[in-house]
Symmetry: C2
Subunit: 452 residues, 2 copies
């Protein structure tokens, strides 16, 4: 890559305009590729101040730490001055204590106070992701004055495209978009063009709910207020997108029985991956032994010499189909809950829907299964083979029925109990359904074949 | 709800200012709750024109269709005039042919030409989700002239916060943000404040890639160009968020072996749900019979009278743990691929990582398993019980090893073959690992116990 070559050859004259024209995200990518650690601060110092800060924000945690270690106090202070406050908080939450100490020492009293304020909000709250760098206007201002205000303060604001109107007690009265301002008469007052019916969230609201609100309404930012309706910050659309992506990643991890991390796969250590996966595997391993107990208890039935190993050989098919049928339902319901399309109050609608789906699917699959064991596995040629086929296909029908119901009900129940629905996904459903399908299977086998 | 009451009582005087102060998303929610279909157009007609169109966009498909059916041609034309063009295209794609015909008849020639143009782009391309309603500026314009231009055209534009600079052949030269404009001298030219190094995408690029670019860079919009670098449209951040949410929902559906739909769960018919789930269940059912074949083939070993049903009873535990171990790896890799954190070129890094993870996890789980069958299931009291425990725990170790490798490699392979990685998630991995674990299990049983 051209930049890396110029850097190694220390051709700063050519390097400077080249990097200055790039954007922060791509530059962070360049920093990732620098192999010689001492080159990191060299390239960083070449960047214009604001671009340097933006690039710093885009780097991953390890790289940030390395770079911070290489900067002297004055340089660190320069970076801290350029950072948006919400980014500063994110970085502080990410860095080890020693680095945080140095960062705080290099920031001014106001920033420190703000950081402490934000850090007080619970980890997943709107307060923890908001920024206080918004434009506040007053009703009495004219449009011209508002523009003047924006021009004076715009550099330090996360967004100037949505301005919030507050009274002298900081109470949120409404908003004015930059578009409204541009289209209005210059002499009009903010009070005349204000949109008063404004959607907001509270500092303690869940950050995912806030992000989804921004997404649903198509906002560029959402104002965050305290219980007295005082405007304390805003959450911007780019942060909302990040939150939603993170939540999706977490949900997918949980649905596969993995403890979520916020690091990309390739950057997560082998040790950390093991710790994230081990407890779930152990829990599921222990619970899967119940299936073994059922098999042991039904030794006599499963080993009936007349039917040989047929009954045992069909177990994986039954357990597998049951698990898959349950996972399908649970995944759909979990996603529906996450998107707020389904809630506990829909329980009966969901149950009724899954009953119909499972009867239909169960009928088709058990018919397919009946024909398959009868003709493909040639049970028709065995004594009482049709009865064995009946046991298998009846078990299939019942397994699918209960698997779908369990798969649909458990996530809703988890949500109601304020647990994370994503946890009762595929692996747990499968384990529960395994036990269930074996129980049903053995019961049918005893009932139909036991008396022969 | 107050609005619904006022509507039933036909108190339009009170209703009008109330609904006019609401936003489109919430209003669409109100329409959803109207039970009497003839009330739909009544409420719709009360809304200010632009709000009516915005609200219409936020409604779900069924409601849109009902409402369109109730509007006369003149009203329909009024709605069509107010709609953003990209929304019009979305609606057209959603509606049945008869409704589309009416809609096209009520739109002007220019709109029809545009709709036809957009409909030509492939379903998942950037072209299919872009809008042509952006602000284009010229280099020679002054900031003041640019403002004038924005003011004149802003009403019809999706966003005025990022303006694009083109030459007289429509070639994309760069961009100017509304912030740049506000902070610049009024007499400065666009050429002086332009950002030339602009990130763009091509019309045929995948819409998910475009959405992720907008998210990664934190843009409000991304310009879309043709192969000659002519600016043909933009994709805005709100559409990008929708695309990402849809893609996540689709991925989760595929990972649970369900064909994705774009309708919410509760709005999807029982019949449709069955069709989305059935083929996958059938495929998995058929493939799970391979497990049965392996069991049948090893009848002699599994039924060895000395060990009774012990070997069979451990099968669910082995298959279950293998399936879970594989699903964990595949889910992480699938998500990594979706987020562009992992690609096929990382294959060896991934394999090496999973080898270490699986050896570590396998060692711990197989040790736990060894102790469990020996002491909890009391195999130590059985003749050759330690050997049986050895068979089980060795199988566990190997199963986890191969399950993790398969789980990690298959999604990457699928991506390389231009298939969707999400399809080779949990259910497929589980089915494959079932066969594998039984094969390993029976092989160890024959090797270690067969000669006794």
């Amino acid at each position: 890559m051209e930049i890396l070559e110029l850097l190694t050859e220390r051709k700063f004259g050519a390097l400077k305009p080249l990097v200055a024209s790039m954007n922060a995200t791509d530059l962070a990518g360049v920093f990732e590729q620098i192999e010689n650690e001492t080159d990191l601060p060299v390239l960083f110092r070449i960047l214009p101040k604001d671009l340097a800060a933006e690039t710093f924000v885009e780097m991953d945690g390890d790289l940030k730490e390395k770079l911070l270690g290489a900067l002297n106090d004055k340089e660190l202070r320069a970076v801290m001055d350029e950072l948006f406050l919400d980014d500063t908080v994110d970085i502080i939450e990410e860095m080890p204590a020693s680095v945080v100490k140095r960062m705080l020492a290099q920031s001014d009293a106001e920033t420190r106070a703000y950081i402490n304020e934000i850090l007080k909000y619970p980890k997943d709250s709107a307060g923890s992701i908001m920024t206080i760098e918004f434009v506040a206007l007053r009703k009495a201002m004219t449009v011209d004055e508002a523009f003047e205000r924006i021009r004076k303060t715009a550099i330090d604001k996360e967004t100037i495209y949505t301005c919030y109107v507050t009274d002298d007690k900081n109470k949120l009265l409404g908003l004015v978009s930059a578009k409204d301002l541009m289209l209005a008469q210059k002499t009009a007052t903010i009070g005349e063009i204000i949109t008063e019916n404004v959607i907001y969230a509270y500092t303690e609201d869940d950050k995912e709910d806030v992000a989804r609100k921004i997404s649903d309404y198509g906002f560029l930012a959402l104002p965050i207020v305290d219980r007295e309706m005082r405007l304390v910050g805003i959450v911007t659309v780019d942060d909302a997108m990040d939150v939603l992506q993170e939540e999706n990643t977490e949900d997918i991890a949980k649905m596969a029985a993995v403890t979520p991390t916020d690091k990309p796969y390739l950057k997560t250590s082998v040790w950390r991956i093991c710790i994230n996966r081990l407890p779930w595997l152990l829990i599921l391993l222990v619970s899967s032994t119940f299936s073994g107990l059922i098999i042991s208890a039904n030794e006599a039935t499963l080993n009936m010499p007349v039917y040989g190993i047929v009954l045992t050989a069909c177990m994986p098919m039954l357990m597998g189909t049951g698990g898959n049928a349950g996972s399908q339902a649970s995944a759909m319901i979990i996603r529906g809950i996450a998107l707020k399309e389904v809630s506990f109050s829909d329980l009966w609608r969901v149950v009724w829907k899954e009953i119909r789906v499972s009867v239909l699917l169960g009928a088709i699959l058990s018919a397919a299964c009946f024909l398959k064991v009868l003709f493909v596995d040639k049970l028709y040629a065995v004594q009482n083979g049709t009865l064995v086929a009946l046991v298998i296909s009846l078990s299939m029908l019942c397994t699918i029925f209960f698997a779908k119901l369990i798969g649909a009900i458990l996530p809703l129940l988890a949500k109601k109990l304020k647990l994370d629905p994503a946890v009762v996904a595929s692996p747990f459903i499968t384990t529960i359904v395994d036990v269930l399908s074996l129980t049903i299977y053995c019961a049918f086998a005893v009932a139909i074949l036991g008396s022969l």
